[in-house]
Amino acid sequence: MFTHTPLRLTTLALLAAGSLSYAYIAGFFGLEILAEIAILAILVIALDLVAGFGGMVSLCHGALLGVGAYAFTVAATEAGLPALPAMLLSVALSSVLAFAIGAVCARSTGIYFIMATLAFGQMAYSFVFQSPLFGGDDGLSGAPRPDLTAIGIDFTDSRAFAVYTILLVALSYLIASATLRSGLGRSLVGIHHNEKRLRALGLTVWRAKATAFAISGALAGLAGCLAAQHTQYVSPGLLSWTVSGEALVVVILGGLGTLVGPLLGAILFVVLKHEISAITPYWHAIVGLILIAVVMSRAKGVFGFIEARWEARSPKPVVKEAKADA
C-alpha cells in the first residue's frame, strides 16, 4: 500500500521548493526544460499509478497523451472552444478511452497485457497518422495556452507557463496519491498481489482495473494538453509506442511503485538528454546502457536505491527492540 514516509515527504518538499525557486531564477532555456520535465512528470505519475501499483505495464500511455494533445488542439482551434473547457473535454476523452482499453485488457496479464495495450496504442497512432482531419504526418499547430490575462497572468511568458505546469504536476500527484490511498487504490494493490483472492473477496476486478486505468488516462491526457500548449504543435510522433517506452524507462530509472521516484526520474531523464545530446548525437545509447544497468542491478531505480539505504541506516528497528526489552 502507498504511504507517505518522512523520506518521501522530504523529497517532495525539496522538489517543490527546488522547482519553484528554479522557475524564478532560470533563463528562457531553463524554463523550457522545466516545462518539459513537468509534462513528462505528469505522464510518469500516470504510468506509475497503473504499472507500479496495479502491475499493469502499459505501452499505450504515449497514445493517451497524444489523444489528449490532439483533442485539445482540435477543440481549441477547429471547434473554437476556450482553452479551459477544451482541456476538460480532452482529459475526459483520454479518460474514457483509457477506461475502455482498461476494461478490454483487464483479462490479460503479463506480456499479453503489454502487447494488448501496445495494439491499442498503435491503433490510435495509425488512425491519427492516416486521418486527413488531423493533418496526418504534418501534425497540427496553433494550440493556444489558457488566457488568464484578465487576472494579470500571461501564459505566453515562459516563466508563468513553467509555474503553471509545476502546479499541475502537484495537482496530478495529489490525485494519484489520493487514488492510491482510497479503497480503489487498496483494491488495485491487492489485485497486483493476488488477483484470485480479491475476486474471491467479491471485488469486480475488471472494474477496479479499468477505473484505475481511466484515472491514469486522464492524467496522461492532461500531460498531452500541456504538451500541445507548450510547443503549440502536435504531431503523430506523440502517440508513438516509443513515447510510452520512454515513459516506462523514466518510471524504472526513478523507482517503480514509489510515485515520488518517477518525478526524480523525469528530472534525470530530461537533464541527461539535454546534457548528453549536447556532447554526442548518440545519447540514446547512453540512456539504453544506463537503463540496462539499472534493471540488471535489481535496484528499484534511483529513489528505490535511496530508500533502501535510508532504511538500512534508520535506527527505528533498534529502538523498538530496546523498548520491547525494557
Binding site: 503489454i114 495494439a119 495509425s126 539504453g288 540496462i292 534493471v295
Partner: protein, 289 residues
Amino acid sequence: MTTDLGFWVLQTLNALQLSMLLFLLSVGLTVIFGLMHFVNLAHGSLYAFGAYVAATLAETLGYWGGFVLAPLAVAALGAVLYFTLIRSQRRAGPMAQVLVTFGLIFVAVDATRLIWGDLPIGIAVPALLDGQIALLGVEYPVYRLFIIALGLAVLAVLTLILTRTQIGAMIRAGVDNDQMAACLGINVERMFFLVFVVGCALAGLAGAVAAPVLSVTPDMGLQILIPTLIVIVIGGLGSLKGAVAGALIFGFVQTFGAVLLPTLSSVLIYALLAAVLVTRPEGLLPAKG
C-alpha cells in the same frame, strides 16, 4: 481493377512475400518465448544487424557471401548477448525483460548509426535472381519469388526438425514443461542457448534477404518489430504453426488492406490484433493446448 486475375495473383504474391519475411523473423522470437519465456524486443535489431552485415559483405564477397555470413555473424552476436544479458534476465519477469531489451534497442540503433552512418545503404539483387518472370499472366521479380521459396524451405526444415528428430522432441518437451523436461535428463540450459542462437541466425537471415528489397536504415529494426510482435501474438506465443498462421494473416491483411481499403489498412491489423487478444488471449494456435 479487382476483376482482373492478374491483380489478385500479383497481390497474393506480394502478401506471400511479406508473410515469409515476417515468418523468418517471428519463428525465432516465438520459439524463444515459448521455450524460455523471454520477451526479446531487440529481435528487430538483430534483423537490422543482419541486413547491415549483408550489405557490407556484399561489397567485397558479393551477395551470396553476405547471405551465408550474415546469419552466422548475428548468431555470434546472439551468443554474446545470451551470456551477458539474456541468461541472467530469464527469470526476472516480463517487465524487466521488456526494459532490458528496450535499452538494447537504443544501444543497437545508435551503434549502427555510429558504424554505418545515418544514410540508407542499398544493395543490388544478385545477378542469378535478377529480372522478372512471367507467372499466371503477371511479370513478377524473381528475387521476391526467391524470398517466398526460402521462407517455405525454412518452414519445411523447421517442421521436420521439430516433429521428426530427437532434438525437436526435446524442444517440444521444453516448451510444454521445462522442469519436467529437465527431470527427464534433457539439458534444458544448453537447449535454450541453441534455440536462442538459431533464432538469432534466422533473424540475421531475414535481414540479409530483406536488404535488397528494402533500404538498409538504422531504424529498420524498430519498424519491423511491431509487425513481428503482432504476428506472434496473433499466432500464439511459442508455436511454429502460430507463427506461420500469424505471418500469413498479417501479410494478407496488410497487403490487401492497403489496396482495397487504403484509409483503414493500418488500423485494420491492430483492430484484428485487439480482437484476437480479447477473444483468445493466448493467440489463435497457442503452443500449449
